[in-house]
């Protein structure tokens, strides 16, 4: 059967994918940028908009990192405001389970779901770093090994809170004077190693029952967490081979949690560069990569891998001839990607040198090559064909597209690629439902069916 493609729009983030130096680049803070971006996505009949989150400004060499876009609004607040200027678009927010409490986050998502008429989604992430914890009065108390356990119990606890209202409690009967059908709605009691809470949840059941749950982790634990509890995965694997391997692995884990293949969508993040022809797109893509990796940015990348400050280093010359500094103390703070570098920096530096030797590349050219070629490059026809083939080949269920220009970088995709996908009958011509679950083709949640409970019930039977 031909699969329907899911498309989402990721508001450009605070990393070097976003080209702020382009004359067309607008504000990352003003509401008008978010409004335009969201309305463009909705014009393209996208499933949802996606927002990342960061809770401490990044630093390198002990100073605030100043080369990328810096600064962003509050996730919940901007999503609630976007609900006012869109009608169908799902509103997905990344919210950290470490620096929040279940009662408050559950309340915010339930509120967002009410205020958007059933369009809320939560990308559940965890963090353990004391660096970010310095901004919070509860601090960075989490041991690294506990982070998935914390995320799992946080989500399970939030789910208990959402399910503490079944949806039939409010009568609001003016004649009899009964507002509530039951005297103690929202009653809950939860105790585990992380949370020991009890009382009454104070938001009635929301249109979707709970937000759609996203998960982004890539580790074995992260994949299990997603297979057990998530509705969708925000993955990094946008190529055919890596995508198919990831897809098969994660979908293969679902039966063990009593779930079917349709209950979890795999949606990799993807970038794109459009041109009138494939050749023109390739040329633009090359220029975009050079803008994304300015000489200054290239130097910072090299410092991150070598884990040392290289103030007089010439990025147009060769890579450093010494090995990276191996240490638990990283010069770059608040940046998840650096953990990939820190796994085995000496070996990775060897790979970079081999790339340089093979292509006769300068240090900057190596960084341009190894740190993030665009996912889809080509004429509209080429990109439409590629995306459809990838989805039909089970490399993904769709893509979360992040343009490199804020806020209008999505428009060419919406205007040129989406109509081609619609012509092929693999992407909706219009919205058919009212909730994000409808957009994603996920069944509605009934009060009796919730991820944790379903797993236990089915495992027990």
């Amino acid at each position: 059967m031909t699969k329907q493609i899911h498309l989402a729009a990721h508001f450009p983030g605070v990393n070097n994918t976003t080209v702020w130096s382009d004359p067309a680049a607008g504000s990352h803070i003003e509401f008008d940028s978010f409004r335009r971006f969201a309305q463009t996505a909705e014009r393209g009949k996208f499933d949802f908009l996606f927002l990342a989150e960061g809770l401490r400004l990044r630093e390198q060499n002990g100073q605030i990192y100043d080369l990328d876009v810096v600064g962003r609004p509050d996730t919940f607040t901007i999503l609630a405001a976007l609900a006012a200027v869109t009608e169908h678009l799902g509103l997905t927010g990344t919210i950290n389970s470490t620096f929040n409490e279940p009662y408050e986050v559950a309340r915010q998502f339930a509120s967002l779901d009410h205020l958007s008429g059933g369009r809320a989604a939560w990308n559940v992430v965890t963090s353990w770093d004391a660096f970010t914890g310095e901004n919070f009065r509860r601090g960075g108390f989490l041991a690294q090994g506990d982070r998935y356990e914390r995320a799992r119990t946080f989500l399970a606890t939030a789910t208990e809170l959402w399910d503490s209202w079944r949806g039939d409690e409010i009568l609001a009967d003016k004649d009899t004077g009964q507002f509530l059908a039951t005297a103690e709605p929202g009653t809950f009691r939860h105790k585990d190693a992380f949370f020991d809470i009890a009382g009454q949840f104070n938001v009635p059941r929301s249109p979707q029952g709970r937000p759609v749950i996203f998960q982004a982790g890539d580790s074995d634990e992260g994949r299990d967490f997603a297979a057990a509890s998530a509705d969708a995965i925000f993955s990094r694997h946008s190529t055919l081979d890596a995508g198919r391997a990831f897809y098969a692995d994660v979908k293969g884990r679902l039966p063990k949690f009593g779930r079917t293949r349709d209950e979890l969508l795999i949606l990799p993040a993807a970038t794109f560069v459009l041109g009138d022809t494939d050749a023109e797109a390739a040329e633009i893509a090359h220029e975009v990569r050079r803008a994304q990796v300015s000489p200054q940015t290239a130097l910072r990348f090299i410092e991150q891998l070598w884990n040392t400050e290289l103030s007089d280093f010439d990025v147009d010359g060769p890579l450093p001839d010494f090995d990276p500094v191996v240490s638990d103390n990283l010069i770059s703070k608040g940046r998840a990607s650096v953990r990939q570098f820190a796994k085995d920096p000496v070996a990775l530096a060897g790979e970079w040198r081999a790339r340089a030797d093979a292509g006769n590349l300068s240090a900057r050219e190596v960084v341009i090559e190894v740190t993030g070629r665009q996912s889809f490059i080509g004429a509209p026809e080429t990109i439409a064909t590629t995306i459809n083939e990838l989805v039909q080949a089970d490399a993904a269920d769709g893509y979360i597209l992040v343009p490199h220009i804020t806020p209008d970088g999505l428009a060419p995709f919406v205007d040129k690629v989406v109509p081609l996908l619609q012509e092929r009958g693999v992407f909706r011509a219009d919205y058919t439902g009212s909730t994000l679950r409808d957009n994603l083709g996920l069944d509605p949640i009934t009060p009796l069916r919730r991820p944790g409970e379903t797993v236990t019930a089915r495992a027990a039977s």
Binding site: G71, T77, I78, A84, Y103, S111, A172, L180, N202, V203
Partner: protein, 409 residues
């Protein structure tokens, strides 16, 4: 030119500020049963949008939205089991954010609970509300330290307020501590809002720098209860400092208003009492070194308004009968006509109140009475604006754009 004789005879009245306090179906517990009430829409965006537009139609300065991290209860210390009252409430900051883009002038002052909500999160949420409303955000801080609410959270190290400590000599210390913590909390909000200077974003292509990091500042706050590093992840909001408000019924909260707030909500019994409260707040400002700062003191009133006093009294009586008890409030309750209320506001204003936060007994009825009857009456008396004169909430309140504490002079 010397002033003319008539100007001496008819002094220009000082216009007053007006805010409306939105709370469920209204402040009376039986309000949801009124014919015009829409209790089934309390949890929809449309309900709040209509109320905000109504308030904006009346040129009000701002609206407030109540908030709590517990289910409503008639008991101040624990949950009740009533089924005849409105129960359930959405997050107030998110309601404000959802409604703000559908309005253009009115300010939004949602309530936040300082005992539980992280100041770093709230600071960026209100900064963002200020962006999405183009400079119309404020925040009312509330302690919210009930024991049953504390049981919803994992924060155990700070003692909540329980009924059994009401007779405890330690109660006063606990209350003072919570208000001191709230003052620290507001200090953190304000420092985070100033942690980016106004022109920190430079986009300098030549050097590759998006920001001038010398214009970003750690706040390095360390207090008795918590510490926060900073800077904010959100740049300085359009108003620089969104409006901070607090409600108080006694000396301890008056000191919070004096030390930390731009607007204080108070509940005087009469004009003389209002004057006493204002004097106490002014004295508190002086001892906190804030005598030069504008701190508006707003009087609170619950209002039941109709075209005749008889109709208002009868309606209030009907509501009380339905509720099974006479409605009481921490604020004075006014039942009567808009003209009578205008007299009262004018009288209390003489006690140096800058304005009023009116709590409609029933929605939308009493809000409509405010915007369609009270406001025209006040306008006739020269006591209220006839058009919005500013684009920001600080502008409407005459607070001006504050300098950033970190900006080089």
């Amino acid at each position: 030119m010397p002033p003319s004789e008539t100007e001496f005879m008819v002094p220009t009245p000082t216009p007053l500020h007006l805010a409306v306090a939105l709370n469920g179906a209204g402040w009376h517990p039986a309000a949801w049963r009124e014919p015009a009430a829409q209790p089934e829409r309390l949890f929809t965006a449309g309900y709040w949008t209509e109320l905000a537009r109504q308030a904006e139609g009346g040129l009000l300065d701002f609206l407030t939205i109540e908030n709590a991290l517990n289910l409503q209860s008639d008991d101040h210390f624990e949950a009740d089991s009533r089924t005849d009252r409105v129960r359930g409430l959405l997050d107030a900051v998110l309601i404000a954010a959802r409604v703000a883009p559908a309005t253009r002038h009115i300010g939004f002052v949602p309530t936040a609970i300082t005992y539980h909500t992280e100041p770093f999160h709230l600071s960026k949420a209100i900064a963002t509300l200020d962006y999405v409303s183009a400079g119309r955000a404020g925040i009312r801080v509330q302690i919210g330290a009930r024991a049953d609410t504390a049981a919803h959270f994992g924060r155990r190290e700070v003692e909540p307020l329980r009924r059994d400590v009401l007779t405890d000599p330690e109660l006063q210390r606990l209350i003072v501590d919570r208000f001191d913590e709230a003052a620290d909390y507001v200090e953190v909000l304000r420092r985070l809002w100033d942690s980016w200077e106004d022109k920190a974003e430079i986009r300098d292509v030549a050097t590759g720098r998006f920001i001038d990091r010398d214009k970003l500042h750690y706040i390095d706050f360390e207090g008795r209860w918590f510490s926060v590093k900073g800077p904010s992840i959100t740049p300085r909001p359009p108003q620089g400092q969104p409006v901070v408000a607090a409600l108080g019924h006694g000396s301890v909260p008056y000191q919070l208003i004096a030390r930390s707030a731009d607007v204080g909500f108070v509940t005087p019994r009469d004009a003389a009492h209002a004057a006493e409260i204002v004097a106490e707040i002014r004295a508190g400002q002086a001892s906190a070194g804030r005598e030069g700062k504008t701190v508006h003191v707003f009087g609170e009133l619950v209002v039941f308004l109709d075209d005749t006093e008889g109709a208002a009294v009868a309606r209030k009586q009907r509501l009380d009968e339905r509720a099974g008890t006479e409605y009481r409030s921490d604020a004075q309750i006014y039942v009567g006509t808009a003209a009578g209320l205008a007299d009262l506001l004018q009288d209390w204003q003489a006690g140096s109140l800058a304005g009023f936060r009116l709590r409609p007994g029933a929605l939308p009825h009493d809000l409509t009475q405010i915007t369609e009857k009270l406001v025209p009456e006040l306008q006739r008396r020269g006591l209220f604006r006839t058009a919005y004169e500013a684009d920001t909430l600080r502008g409407l309140l005459g607070l001006g754009h504050p300098a950033n504490r970190n900006a080089a002079a």
